[in-house]
Assembly symmetry: C2
Homo-oligomer: 206 residues x 2
Amino acid sequence: MNAEKVPDIIIGRLPVYLRALQRLSERGIQTTSSQELGEIVGISAAQIRKDISQFGEFGKQGTGYAIPFLIERLRDIMNVNKVWDVVIVGMGDMGHALARYNGFSERGFRVSMVFDNDPQKIGQKVGELEIYDIASMTEKLKQNKIRIAMLTVPATSAQEMADQLIKAGVKAILNYAPISLNVPSGVRVQYIDPVTHLQRMTYYLD
Amino acid sequence: MNAEKVPDIIIGRLPVYLRALQRLSERGIQTTSSQELGEIVGISAAQIRKDISQFGEFGKQGTGYAIPFLIERLRDIMNVNKVWDVVIVGMGDMGHALARYNGFSERGFRVSMVFDNDPQKIGQKVGELEIYDIASMTEKLKQNKIRIAMLTVPATSAQEMADQLIKAGVKAILNYAPISLNVPSGVRVQYIDPVTHLQRMTYYLD
DNA sequence: TAGATTGTTAATCGATTAACAATC
DNA sequence: TAGATTGTTAATCGATTAACAATC
């Protein structure tokens, strides 16, 4: 699709554009401009045009972008024009909250399995899902060709769990444990740690 | 403290350094080098030295950085050498999970109040905390001089709640709602949306 | 047609890396 | 002393912005 390699920093902005476009679409709006979209997401119009133009000519001079069309293109580009099965490892409070979150399905993801190693939890239900034993995880992930996992275990076992996930074929980890993971190239990690996010802001507070 | 304005991208890496240093410290390690720290967090040694040197000369040639000392300096710089009171707005699953998370206190934050507008929830307890009515939020935030909030309400009411928080004096918002917030300059926002994080990775999956 | 807005180029700005003297 | 590693400079690399011809 794209001859040149697109910088990761641009890839990181696409989901934000998509999210904003979907909100506009929900409100019945059919068209937008780089100017308008930029004001919504807090990014310059020039940058938005440049980002989008990496992938094709999706706009029209004079009128801007057709929202449903641009949404489809972005979903294609990001590979979310299908539903990805994801698993959750660690059924503490955070794992439970994610398992019950209903914002995944409408945006391309489905929580298909959840795991824990606590005998008290194994076999319990979280919504529709039964909590499986981590001991059976490698096998189940391979069987179901799972590529994406969310990691919500304590920091002390996060690296070990990540290693297991990777051995089982996982290529993308959303890590909620407050620790930097060591992973081989070819495996992607995104970090969600509320404390680092908060600390990034307190620098600016007196 | 620092004459030159430090780029925000550097500020964003400091919490990651701090987190790694604290893990080393827990393991009883007293000293580290830019090389070693870089391998842990996945950042080049040169960049780590450059980032740290923005704020002073905290290392020693030949031996590296004294971990407890560097931790103290970073905590000073980031303003987390004291405990910040934070509030949570929206007591759904995510709000509950955050309210019960015990990783805040040891890293400079304390959840001091939680709010919801559901009569069923108001007055209930979450751990030690009573859920307060959002109607009383402005008043309570002003009384307690709250500067930081975590926003875990549905996307549809997130902007409205953010506006209220800002009116009440909040200067930093950690936004869990899947929507870009519009805020005046002087107010900081950090975004946590598992779906955008996942979408950022699916681009690279086949 | 007149007005609006794209896609793209060139210029600017900023961030990262490589290299090394200083020094513990 | 010899080896290790910092702090910093200069070079490189990459990202953002400004500007505008093209065109709807």
